[in-house]
Amino acid sequence: MLLEVLGNIFSPASVGLIILGLAVGNFVGCMPGLTATMALAVLVPLTYYMPISLALTLMGAIYVGAIRGGGIAAILVNIPGTPSDIATTFDGYPMTQQGKAREALMMSIFASVMGGLIGNTFLILVANPLAKVALKFGPPELFWISILGIALMVSLSESLWKGLISGFLGLLITAVGVSPLGGESRFTFGLTELAGGVPIIAGLIGLYCIPRILELPQEATREETGIDTKQTLIIRGNIHKIMWETIKAWFSNLAGFVSALIGTVVGILPGAGGNIAGIMAYDQVKRFAKNPQNFGKGDIRGVASAESANNATVSSSLVPMLTFGVPGSPPAAVLLGAILVQGLRPGPELFTKYAVDTYTFIGGLFLANILLLPVGMYLSNMFSRIMFVSKEMLAAAIGVLSVVGTLAIRGNVGDVFVMIILGLLMYIGGRLKFSPAPAVLGIVLGRIAEEGLTQSMMISKGTGGLIPYFLGRPITVALIIFTLFTILWPYLQKMIIKRRKMKYEGIQEETCKYEPEKIIIGNEFKISELLADKIISVLLIVICGFIFWKTSSFSRYGAIFPIMTTSGVLLFSILYFINSWIPYFVKKRQPSEQCEIIMHAPSLFIGIGSILLYVYLLMPTIGFLTSTFIYMLGLILGTRVQRRTLVGKGVLYSIVFSAILSFSIYYTFANILNIHLPTGIFI
């Protein structure tokens, strides 16, 4: 059997398909809005025409490639291509800003390869016992996993209160739509477009992409006027040297290896899996590192940890799928569908009667992980050319991809509106030091937390209540203790260090993130940070009151989760409000009083206005393709006119750029991915 399997894996067709799959996957993963799930769903019919093991190998390679590809956009433009790449942005983008994009990309590839191989080894050796462990995670355990995830929000944000507020607002967003367990419509205001809730991808795109669209033209202006140094991709040193250094760096400390193990374990859990593995691993590595203050400022260990963990989840999400038919992630669910369409079924049969096919698939994944090194290196070189595209072109392209990516989720124009609103709020929030990562984490964890809690209540209702139920389950108790430990660790660390009479390095002087600038282009909107803090916290408190009033009409099980999360937001908003008064009484913290929030009003209004015009006026009347072309061209030329950099040749380039890009986007989404795009007079 072994020879047959090896023969299958190393057949020219299989190797060719793996390379093709990795390339497609890298591309798909790199684009926010294009997901591995979509690509795989399109490929299901392939299983009718080719041997199932080959088709599955191709699909597996795409999955591997997509999870790795997400890291490229995270590192180069600070936009995670998939939710699992959020942690990659923390150190990956700062490295790019320091001109070390190459090193970061190389590390992300190598870490992905190692993470993938480690995860795959577990899949080959101990699939069955691992799957049994996964099944032990019932509703209460999944609830506490999500609480653990929420506890991580604290360490993800510069400011404690702001991190918690944005995280809890993220959780609250998941309450919009039909309640999964209560069955009623919540916070939809009678709009059926909101019935399906806010998809994770729409949240990710809104919170990360829209602010970038608004910031990029300003960054360009700053570069041109010499305020910032130009962030170009400098290809320094020879590639082999960088590769060796990366490999040494991965092996020289435990960060990568530990992260891969964490990724493997977290990836097995249905639902939570891949999306939070990167963040969980990053947090643990940072917590136990010798010098945690370097994290978030371009530490290579951060990239190593995040990317090792998320690629390890690829194999581990297949563990419960192959053994019990319970997929660990949405792409694994599509693979399950492909297996079921063949009349096969998951379970022991796959490992006995169909062992050759199954092991060809698993072995194919192993080979895919190895081939990822050369393929990934070649492709990331190619993709990194986007850094040479001018910033307004990049902004226009991201704008179109955000819209079409959100439409691609399920063709719902309502999702696009929610995405834009979230993005606008995030842009304003970003100036006030709110970070998007906790909010996305909240959106990822919200449904898991709500389902876990409500189901636990339903199960324990007739037999003594929730708390005895939690305490009677060993894994739940362990998770509760671990969560408490996570929350209290910074304080424990402080105590230990104090006892040793050492200076705690973690505390740093509060500084303004956005220094007031000497050169002001266009109209800027300025407000003192402390005043802004007060306005925002009062607004939040009022919103909480409104939500409490709304929840009064919900069913019992539909109301619990919104009430709990809103209480969280309310509590933290009050603390935030109190916090904003402290500087008036404490002399030491005075500097922050002088901080000013600066927003570039024209780019804010043009950016948001044009995208709304594009989606809601142009698209339904003249169709997707034509309006996309007009939007891109308009945005590029508009920005150039405003900055007075428009020259004759530039116009032609812009037209060609817009035409090619809009047509290829249209073709990819409408004809390859079968997405329903709006049509009007034209297409």
Binding site: A41, V44, Y48, F137, G138, P139, V178, P180, L181, G183, E184, S185, G190, T192, E193, A195, G196, G197, P199, P270, P320, F324, G325, V326, P327, P330, A333, V334, G337, L340, V341, G343, R345, P346, G347, P348, R410, G411, N412, E451, Q455, M458, I459, K461, G462, T463, Y557, G558, G623, L625, K649, L652, V656, A659, I660, F663, N674, H676, F682, I683
Partner: protein
């Protein structure tokens, strides 16, 4: 340097002209098709549930045979969320030209418009009915090592501890949920209903021993693994043939055989956009009717494990109407709704 720039410019111009040609050609192609040459372009098949589920499997079975009959392929499109509502809401907004079809589920399309705000109505599904495809009975399944060896063990336990025996169902106001309510009604028991957002999490919870039993369908047996479970009762007149390969392992007697009058099922079918011109709907109904009566299709359905309903065209529309009357009276009897002059008021959720 100068000459190179000029070269780039001409190149761009050529590409630009090319793009313009493509644009105008593409516009021509998108001109609306006439009824006479229907179908003249690929179909969009909306799957309102996640990839890999039973509705998706049905679409994939059609994908194999559609082109032979229609000369045009189908493109499977996932429009998911809110227990299928997002997909059916999208369907009624699409062009009524006969090129969009969607999988639909009973009783979802009957109960959702009652209990929530929806864009679609049950009447839309009656008007656009293309064919009834699957009848999937509700089944009560427990783990092999469960103390409940027989349906009467479970009923007895539920009578002794009212509201304490946990029963997993997919979603509230769904076929599974209605199946549970009807079972409680038929046996005069009360279970602790534990609602899951989909069939996979329910399966995982049963396998992990977190719930005592689950109300599910035939498709769940494959993912649960027949070696792991026992089906205590099937809510149909006879156990469907798709379970034949597993019957030795899981048992699966009908509730009727066990002396319990409990009948509950989920039905799945195909629907097109309401308001589609009659000749087009007729073509669609006839051709789909042809596909579902072929042997190859029947074998494929047996292979992937979907029990057939086979109600082509108008028959399916009438079937939905019958089910609607039935479900409304059940909900009324259980005190969930009140009907006065055709107006439905929700009394409790």
């Amino acid at each position: 340097m100068n000459s190179r720039k000029r070269k780039l410019n001409t190149g761009s111009l050529v590409r630009l002209t090319f793009m313009m040609t493509v644009f105008s050609l593409a516009t021509l192609i998108s001109l609306p098709a006439q009824a006479a040459d229907y179908p003249s372009k690929p179909f969009n098949y909306i799957v309102p549930f996640s990839p890999g589920g039973t509705t998706d499997l049905q679409a994939r079975v059609f994908e194999k045979y559609w082109k032979d009959t229609f000369d045009q392929p189908i493109k499977v499109e996932y429009v998911t969320g809110a227990g299928g509502q997002v997909g059916w809401d999208a369907l009624v907004d699409r062009k009524a030209d006969g090129y969009t079809v969607a999988g639909n589920n009973l009783p979802h399309i009957i109960m959702q418009p009652i209990f929530r705000d929806t864009n679609f109505t049950t009447q839309d599904h009656i008007d656009g009915a293309v064919a009834g495809l699957v009848t999937d009975p509700e089944m009560i399944t427990v783990l092999k090592d469960s103390p409940y060896k027989d349906i009467h063990d479970l009923v007895k336990a539920a009578k002794e501890n009212p509201g304490a025996i946990t029963a997993g169902v997919v979603g509230k106001f769904t076929g599974d949920w209605l199946g549970l309510k009807l079972f409680e009604d038929a046996t005069d028991t009360e279970f602790a209903e534990v609602i899951f957002p989909g069939s996979r999490p329910t399966v995982a919870a049963l396998l992990g021993g977190h719930i005592a039993c689950m109300f599910g369908n035939t498709g769940d047996i494959k993912t649960l693994g027949p070696e792991n479970v026992r089906t205590l009762a099937v809510g149909a007149k006879e156990t469907p043939a798709v379970l034949d390969p597993f019957i030795d392992q899981i048992g699966a007697p009908t509730a009727h055989e066990k002396g319990i009058e409990w009948y509950a099922a989920i039905h799945r079918g195909l629907v097109t956009v309401p308001g589609t011109p009659k000749p087009i709907v007729d073509t669609l109904r006839n051709k789909v009717g042809k596909i579902i009566t072929t042997d190859a299709y029947a074998q494929e359905m047996q292979k992937v494990g979907l029990p057939m309903l086979n109600r082509p065209g108008q028959e399916y529309a009438e079937f939905i109407e019958q089910r609607q009357d039935k479900i409304l009276s059940v909900l009324k009897n259980m005190g969930y709704i009140e009907i006065e002059n055709g107006e439905i008021t929700v009394l409790k959720r």
